[in-house]
Symmetry: C3
Subunit: 572 residues, 3 copies
C-alpha cells in the first residue's frame, strides 16, 4: 500500500529536506513522486545537465526507506526550450501561439519537442534506472495539451491516411459533400482551426482521436526508453476531468499500472460518490492490473471559485474509500504547500502552517492507518455501465439537437444511483466481453459500431439485462446518423422506433409518479412493451424480451427514484 | 405556387435520387434549390469542372416535372480555394485570418474570390442557362460575411471617396475632431479593426453600409453574368435575422424576386406572429414584385439551445400563413436530412426516420394542399411601420445612452400589437411615398435625413397620423446628434422638446393604467398636448395637430395594451 | 477655487467659441482643460504643426478671464503616428496588435512614441509656457494603457535587473522552481503573455509594478520639459477606477497637485459616499499638496449599462462634497456635449439641448455658488485606513484561495462605515508615520513588508489601535506566503495563529448578533482574547493588548453593523 505524494524539493533549501524526511517517516510516507516539474533544474540549458541535487534527494529518500516514483519532466519545458524552438510552442485554433510562463507549453507533434523529450528521458533513465530508490516511472504529467500548428497538421494527415486509407473514404466518413468541404488532396486537410461558422463534427471527432493517439505515441516513446534502463513499472497520471482528450481504454493497455489524479468538488456524501465513481473507472480501465491514486487534494475540495476545506476526518474517509475500491496507494499533490508560484494556495500534506497543524496530524494518522491495513477484499461487480471516450467526445460537437447532452454527466448520475443502492459497479467498453454481468447500463452513448451492437445483442440473447437511455446508438463511429428511425443501431434490439426527439423545456409527469426532464421522445413499440408511460402520452420506458434476456429503453432523463424504479422492475 | 426545398443530391448515392423524385412527386414538390453547396464537386480543382452528376440531377428533375432553382455555389468555396488564395480568406477585426472547414470562408473584396466567383457562375450559366429545368437562379447563399483585411481597406476607401467626396467632409461627418482621429490622408483609414477602446460610431456605421454595398456588387456581378445566358429570374436569399448586414431596400431593387430564409423560435401564436412579421417585411421590400419563402425549418423551431419540434399541424398552419401574406411559394431547408456534417441534426422534409414518418406525411399533405390553393386575395394595408436598416445598424453602436436599444426588436414588438388587432401592415422606408396610409408608426428610428423629415411632415399635414416612439430622429445620417433638444429633427412636427432622457431601472405607472418600462423622458410641450401622463409626472404620450393630421410622441416603452390604447386614441 | 471642465473647441466652428466664453462667464467658469485630444489638429503630419487655432482659443479664453489647464495630447496619437510607427501600437497578451481608431493606442515603452511625445510636449511648452492663460499643465490623459510587445520586454528586463539585481534573486523571488520556470538568462523573461495555464503571480505583480513605473517615466519626461519653459504646476489625471495600474503614492510624489477623474455609479447617499471615498483618497495621496477634481460626469451616473441622470440638485450636492473634503476645484468632462464620436452621449455642461436647459442652469448656479464659497475648514482625521496599490494588484492574481478577494472593495466598504458614522478618515501607506491616528484599519492587505510590520507594531506599542481584517499580511512583497501560520507577518502583533482558511458559501452567525459572510477562519488565540465569536465555534474577532495599544483581528467579512460594533468596542 503506497502512501505519499508529489515531492518538489527543488522549491526548498536543503535543510528543509531533512525535516521533510523526518516528517515523512512520522507519517509513514513510503512513496514520493519526484521530478515532475524539474526540467529547468535538471537541464538548465540545452543538453547541459545538473543531476547533483537530484542525486542527493534520491539518496536521502532511499536512506529513509522512501521509494521514488520518478518523473520525466516533459510536461513543463523550461523557458530556454520555447525560445530555442518557437515552432514547438502550442498554437490555439485561432492561430495564437502560446509562450512559456505557465506549464504544459509544448506541441507533442513538434520534432524538436520529441527530441528534447527523448533526451531528458534517456538521461534520467541512464542515471536512475538502477538507483535503489526508483520504484516506479512517472512519464510526463497529466497529458492533455492540444495544439493546431503545422506540425500537427502533418501528423494529423498521416494519422488520417492510416485510419481512412483513401481520400474517398475520408470524404465519405466526414460527409464532406455538405457545405462544399470535399478534399481533393490530403494536403488540404488542416486541424480544426477557427473558421467562419460551425466545424464539421467528424473532423472534430477525428482530431480528438488523433490527439489522444499523438499524446500516446509521446508516452510510448518515453516508456520504451525507460524500460531499456530500468525494470520498474512505467505509468502516467490521468486527469479525472471531462476535458481530458485521452482514450482511456487504449491508454490503459500501454501503462503498467493505471494512475489517476482526482480532485473532488462536493462535500460529504457527494464527495464520497465522486470517489467511488473515479475509483470504479480507474479499476475498470486497469482491467486486472493495479491502479493508484496518484494525486488528490489534501483535505480540500476544488470548486470553480477556489478551494474549500474538508471537515476534520473527511479526507481520511475518502482516502479509505479509494483503497476499499482497489487503489494500491493513496498519494497527494503535494507534500509541502508552496510558498510561491501559481499553486501557492494549493493545500499541502505539510501546510503553510507547518507540521504542527491539524491537517498534518490527520495526514500522519492516515499514513499509520494505511500501513496497518490488510489488503482490500472486494466482491465482484454484477452490474456494469458502458464507458466510451469516443462517444463522450462526439457529444462535444457543436451541432446536436440540443445543448446539454453530456455523456460523462449521464454516466456519473447513473453510477451514483447504483452507488446509493449499494450495487458494486464496473465500467466496460461496448465491445468488451460483458457476459458475466447481471445487468449493463448504457446512458446516452451516442456513437456505436456494428460490432458493439452485435456484442450487446448477444449479451441480451444470452440472458443479460441491458438498459439503454436516450440518444444512444444514433450515430455510427464517423458520427453519421443511422437512418430509418432512432435509436439507429439499437432499434431491433430494443423493439422500438423513434421518429422525433422532443427535448423538454420543463418536467413531464411519468406513470410511476416520478418525472422526466430535459428530453423526451415519441416512442413507437415495434416489439417492446411499455413499462412506464408519459402521463397523457406514449411509452417513456420500454422492455423488450430478446432470447433469454431483456433490453430496456429509457426515453427521458429520469431522476434518481425514477431510475431506481426501472432497476427494480428490471430485477437489477 | 412553388413548393419544395434545398436539394443536395451530392450527399447521397444515385439510387437514393430515384426515391427522392418519387417522394417529391408524392409531395407535389415542384421546385428544388440545387447546387448551393456544390462548388467542391463542380470544380474539384481550380478551373477543372465536373458537371456530369449535375447534368444527371437536372435531367432527372426535369423528367419528373420538378423545376430547379439553380444556385451559384460561391457561399462555400472549396478547400483548394483558400489554400491557393489565402489572401481571400476573411479576417476578423482582431486580425485573425479564418480558414476553410465550415462555410462562408471568403472575403467578398478579394480579387481572387471575385475572379473565382465569376468563373463558376459563367460556367453554370453557359451549361444550364438553357436547360429546361432551370426556372430560377439562386445567387450565392445568405449573404452576410464581413471581413477586415487589406483588400477591404482598399475597397472601403474607394467607397468613402464616393460617399464623402473630400477628406474634409469625411472628417466632419465622422466628428474625427474627437479623440484626435483626424485623417490627413485617405490611406490612413482602415476597417474598424480592434483598437484600445470604443470605436467611432460613424466609422462603424459607414463600414456596415460599405459591407452591404460590397456584397451587393458581388451579387450584381453574378446576376449580370446569369442574365447573359438565361432568361430566368435571378435572386438570392436574405437571412431574416438581426445580424445581417444588408440594406434590404437597396438590395430588393436588384433582385427579380425577394427570397427570404426564415427560422422561427417561438411556439404557437408567437411563431405565427413571427411568420406575419417576416412575410410583411418581405412583401414590403419586394414593392410589388413577387417574393418567396426560400428556406424554413421543417416542423421545427430553432432556439438558442438547439432545435425544438413543432406540434403536429403547426408547420402547415405557418406555411399557409406565409402564403396568405403573399408568398409565391414555400420552400424548406432541406429536402432530406443529412447523415453527417455540421447540420446533420437540422430537420429535413424527409427526416432521418425516412418517408414513413409523421413529418413527411405532414409535408406531403401540405404540398397537396398548396397545389390546390387558389391565389391569395389580400386587402391593402392601411397602416405602415417605418423600416430602415441604416437606423438599425446605428443602434448597434457601442456608446448609446443605455444598452438595450434595439430597432428590430422595437419594430417587431409594434408589428405584433398591430397583428394581434388584425390590422394589415406594410413596412416602408421614411423616404417612401406614404400618403396612402391611414397611420404610420415609427419605433425608435435613431437616424433620419432632412428629406425624410420633410416627407413625414408632408404626410401629417396632408391628414396622416404619425406615431413616433422614443429615441427616434435624434441623429443625422452620419450619427451626429441633432442639437437644441430631442427628438432633434422631429421636434417641430411633434410639438415637444426633450432635454433629458431618463432610462428606467424599473416600471413606471402611466395615467391610462398601463406601465412604461426601460425608458422615460422629461417631455416639454411646445405645441402638443398630453394624451397619457406619467403618474406623478409630466407627459408620457403626446398628440400634436399639424395641418389635417396629427403627430404623436411616445416617450417610454409601452406594453401591448398601452400601445393599443394609444392606437385607439389615435383612431388607428 | 477652480470651476470648469474639458473644453474641446476643435469640435466646433469658431462662432460657437464666442457663445462658449459667454456661457462660461455666465457660469463663472475660470479653468478650462484644453488640448487633451488635439494632437491630430496640432501636428497634422509628422513634425508639421498648426498652432493657429489654439493661439486663438488661448487668447479668447484669456480675454475672458478664463485660465487654461493646457494638456499635452499624447494619450491620443493621430492616425499617421500608428501608420508610421506600427511597432509603437500596443500589443495584447495574446499578441494582437491594436490599431488606431479609438484613443490610447500607444506603447509607452516604444522609442518612437517617446520621441513623438517629447517633440509635441516641447512644441507646446515653447509656444504656451509664457502665455498668460496657461495656469496649469495637464500631461497626457488617464494613464493606464498596458502593452506586451518586445519593447516592453526589453524595458521590463531592465526594470527587473534594477529591482532584483541578480537572476538568482529573481528566480527566488518568483519561486520559479515551481513548474520548471527557472530562468537561466535575462533574455528568457517576457511580459506575461498568453500561456497554456495559470501565470506566475510574482511575474504578474512585477509586471504591474513595471507598468506603473514605465508610465511614470513617460510622465516625468514631459513634466521636466514643461518645467523648462513654464512655471505653472504640472500634473495629470488619475482614473479613480479599480483597473488603473498606477502606484498612487509613488505618482503623487511626482505631480505638483493630485488630479482625479471620478465617475459615480450610485444614486443618492451611495453616490455621496463614493465622493467621500474618492476625495479622501485624493487628499491623502496629495499629502498636503492641493488636489483637484479634474473630471466628473455632468449630472449623470455612469452605470455598466450606460448613463443615468441624477435628480435635480444632486450634482450640486456632490460637487460641494468634493470641496468640503478639500478639493481646490471642481471640473467636468466636458464643457459642451459632443455631436459625434464615441462619447457623443456623454453629458456636457452645455448639453445637446443647449444652454436653455435645466442642466446648464444647475451648472451655472453651482459656478456662482463656488465662486462665493469661503475656503473649506476641515478637522484633522483621527482615523486612517491603509491603502497600498501593490497589495491591491496582488489580489488580482488568478490563483488565490477563492475568487472574490478584492482590496479596493474591502477598503471602500470599510470607509463607508466610517463615513456613515461621521468619522473623518485619511488613507495612509503601511510604511508611513501613522502615530498621530487614534485608530488604523487594515482591510485585506495581502502583501506586507517586514518594515511595514515593524511600523505597525511600533504604532500599537505606542498606544495605537490597529484593526486588521482577514487575508492581511499573509504574503511578502514577492507574493510568497509567510510560513508558520496565518496571518504571517502579523501573528505576533495580533496574538493569533490560523492554520486553515474556511471560505463561506453562506452567512454565519456571530455572538454579537450580526453575521459574517464570504470568509471565516479557525483562529487560535496565542495571546489575544476573543471579542466576538462564531456562534457554536471559536473566535471571530480578537483583541490583543500590546504595549500601550491594542491590535484587533477580524477573521470574517462583517456587515456594516458588525464593523460598527467592533469600532465601538475598540473605542474608535
Amino acid at each position: 500500500m503506497y502512501f505519499g505524494g508529489d515531492y518538489n524539493p527543488e522549491q526548498w533549501p536543503e535543510d528543509v529536506w531533512l525535516e521533510d524526511v523526518r516528517l515523512m517517516r512520522e507519517a509513514k510516507v513510503n512513496l514520493a513522486t519526484v521530478g515532475v516539474f524539474s526540467w529547468a533544474r535538471l537541464e538548465p540549458s540545452e543538453g547541459v545537465y545538473d543531476f547533483g541535487w537530484l542525486d542527493r534527494v534520491m539518496d536521502l529518500l532511499h536512506d529513509n526507506d522512501i521509494q521514488v516514483n520518478l518523473a520525466t519532466p516533459t510536461a513543463s519545458p523550461p523557458p530556454w526550450f520555447g525560445l530555442s524552438h518557437p515552432d514547438a510552442m502550442p498554437v490555439r485554433a485561432d492561430g495564437t501561439r502560446l509562450t512559456h510562463g505557465s506549464r504544459d507549453t509544448y506541441c507533442v507533434n513538434a520534432p524538436a519537442y520529441r527530441v528534447a523529450s527523448r533526451r531528458i528521458a534517456t538521461a534520467l533513465a541512464e542515471r536512475y534506472g538502477a538507483h535503489p530508490a526508483t520504484a516506479m516511472w512517472h512519464v510526463h504529467n497529466e497529458y492533455g495539451t492540444t495544439c493546431h500548428c503545422d506540425h500537427c497538421a502533418t501528423a494529423f494527415r498521416a494519422w488520417l491516411r492510416d485510419r481512412h486509407k483513401s481520400l474517398d473514404a475520408l470524404n465519405d466518413a466526414w460527409t464532406t459533400a455538405f457545405w462544399s468541404q470535399h478534399y481533393s488532396a490530403w494536403e488540404q486537410i488542416m486541424p480544426p482551426r477557427t473558421t467562419q461558422y460551425r466545424s464539421n463534427p467528424a473532423h472534430l471527432l477525428d482530431y480528438r482521436r488523433f490527439c489522444s493517439d499523438a499524446l500516446l505515441a509521446h508516452y510510448r516513446e518515453q516508456r520504451d526508453i525507460l524500460r531499456v534502463h530500468g525494470r520498474q513499472p512505467v505509468t502516467t497520471n490521468y486527469v479525472m476531468a471531462g476535458w481530458t482528450p485521452l482514450d482511456h481504454w487504449k491508454w490503459s493497455a500501454e501503462v503498467d499500472l493505471v494512475g489517476i489524479d482526482h480532485y473532488t468538488d462536493e462535500p460529504g456524501d457527494g464527495g464520497l460518490a465522486q470517489v467511488a465513481f473515479a475509483s470504479d473507472l480507474a479499476r475498470s480501465w486497469a482491467r486486472g492490473k493495479p491502479w493508484l491514486l496518484m494525486e488528490q487534494g489534501v483535505a480540500a475540495m476544488y470548486v470553480p471559485d477556489g478551494t474549500l476545506p474538508l471537515e476534520p476526518g473527511e479526507h481520511t474517509r475518502r482516502s479509505l474509500e479509494y483503497v476499499a475500491r482497489g487503489a494500491t496507494g493513496v498519494l497527494h499533490f503535494q507534500w509541502r504547500a508552496s510558498q510561491g508560484g501559481a499553486e501557492q494556495w494549493h493545500q499541502g500534506m505539510v501546510p503553510h502552517a507547518g507540521a504542527d497543524s491539524r491537517v498534518f496530524r490527520e495526514i500522519a494518522d492516515l499514513g499509520r492507518t494505511l500501513s496497518a491495513l490488510p489488503p482490500a477484499e472486494r466482491a465482484e461487480a454484477e452490474v456494469a455501465i458502458l464507458w466510451d471516450d469516443e462517444a463522450a467526445w462526439a457529444l462535444r460537437n457543436p451541432a446536436l439537437p440540443v445543448t446539454g447532452l453530456d455523456f460523462r454527466a449521464s454516466v456519473e448520475q447513473t453510477h451514483r444511483v447504483l452507488w446509493q443502492q449499494g450495487l458494486a459497479t464496473d465500467f466496460v467498453h461496448p465491445s468488451h466481453d460483458i457476459s458475466r454481468y447481471r445487468a449493463v447500463l448504457m446512458p446516452s452513448l451516442y456513437l456505436i459500431s456494428d460490432e458493439a451492437v452485435a456484442n450487446l445483442t448477444a449479451y441480451v440473447e444470452g440472458g443479460g439485462t441491458l438498459i439503454v437511455s436516450y440518444f444512444s446508438g444514433v450515430a455510427d463511429p464517423d458520427t453519421r446518423v443511422r437512418l430509418g428511425g432512432y435509436p439507429g443501431a439499437l432499434r431491433d434490439l430494443l423493439g422500438v422506433r423513434v421518429e422525433e426527439f422532443r427535448p423538454l423545456t420543463g418536467p413531464v409527469a411519468l406513470s410511476d409518479g416520478t418525472v422526466g426532464t430535459f428530453w423526451s421522445e415519441t416512442v413507437q413499440l415495434t416489439g417492446a412493451t411499455a413499462a412506464v408511460t408519459y402521463v397523457g402520452g406514449g411509452p417513456a420506458v420500454t422492455r423488450h424480451q430478446v432470447g433469454a434476456g431483456s433490453a430496456w429503453y429509457v426515453s427521458t432523463q429520469l431522476d434518481a427514484s425514477g431510475l431506481a424504479n426501472v432497476l427494480a422492475q428490471a430485477g437489477v
